[in-house]
């Protein structure tokens, strides 16, 4: 009796569509979550205009970012602080990271200078001499 030979390979079907759907959903999830996380750490402020600004280099140099709002309030790590608290924090960071600490001031362009001056004075008292102002590029001057 002749028996059919089932030695042939069975066809392997590989449906890509569900895999693409899962990848797509994962990508959307990570994009949205990273976008929201970035908004929390980067406060929207009308920064001063300047032409001679250099590109911000996000390297391993220790940096403290301070936001100064138009009403003079100082934000450090999302929290309102006074000048004395800022000085304490800078002293702590300098003792931890040394003199290479850099202070980045993101201030509203309309904030009176009397609110920004003490921030820089606190930086000088703490021994932070690298102070950068965050600006946006203006077209001409």
């Amino acid at each position: 009796m002749r028996v059919p030979i089932r030695s042939g390979r069975a066809e392997v079907g590989f449906n890509m569509t569900p895999m693409i759907d899962v990848v797509f959903l994962l990508i959307i999830f990570f994009l949205v979550s990273s976008h929201l996380a970035r908004q929390e750490s980067r406060l929207q402020l009308p920064l001063p205009l300047a032409q001679s600004g250099v590109e911000t280099v996000y390297d391993e140099r220790p940096r403290v970012t301070v936001n100064v709002l138009d009403d003079g309030k100082i934000l450090l790590a999302g929290r309102h602080v006074s000048v004395d608290e800022l000085l304490q924090r800078l002293n702590h960071e300098v003792s931890r990271m040394g003199q290479e600490l850099e202070l980045r001031i993101r201030a509203d362009r309309d904030v009176p200078y009397r609110f920004v001056g003490p921030v820089m004075f606190a930086a000088a008292r703490a021994g932070v001499w690298q102070v950068n102002f965050a600006v946006i590029r203006s077209r001409d001057r």
Binding site: L31, H35, A50, Y113, G117
Partner: protein, 149 residues
Amino acid sequence: MRRPSYVFQRASTLGVVMTPMIDVVFLLLVFFVWTASFQVVEYSLPSSLFAASGTGSEVEVDPELEDLDRVVIRIAWQDARPVWMINERSVASLSDVRNTLSGIAAIQSDVPVVLDASPNVPLGHVIDVYDIARLESFSKVQFAVTERP
């Protein structure tokens, strides 16, 4: 009796549908282009500090351009507009500030420039002068600051 052979003569093909993959890539491109257009690029203005020792600093400055010891730019705020003074000389506009600094820089670009702004001056106007000083290639531009607001 002849029976059909189940030995497949041809290899099975793995069909990959490219259309959904192209759609995903296209959506990603649109998303990144759209979000990038709304993000303003921030730049940095490096600076150094000069702490004022008292309420009024007495700066002895030779008015002659050839013997400049220090350039002090005072910025005041009058009638909701900035008023500039370079070494106690009144300057009418920001462009005049730039012209004056350009003349000084042509002679001596390593002279220290000190920005002394009044408390009510908006920071944007202080940065304007600082920006001009940097554009005129002054190597030492400093801010005069006080401890308290």
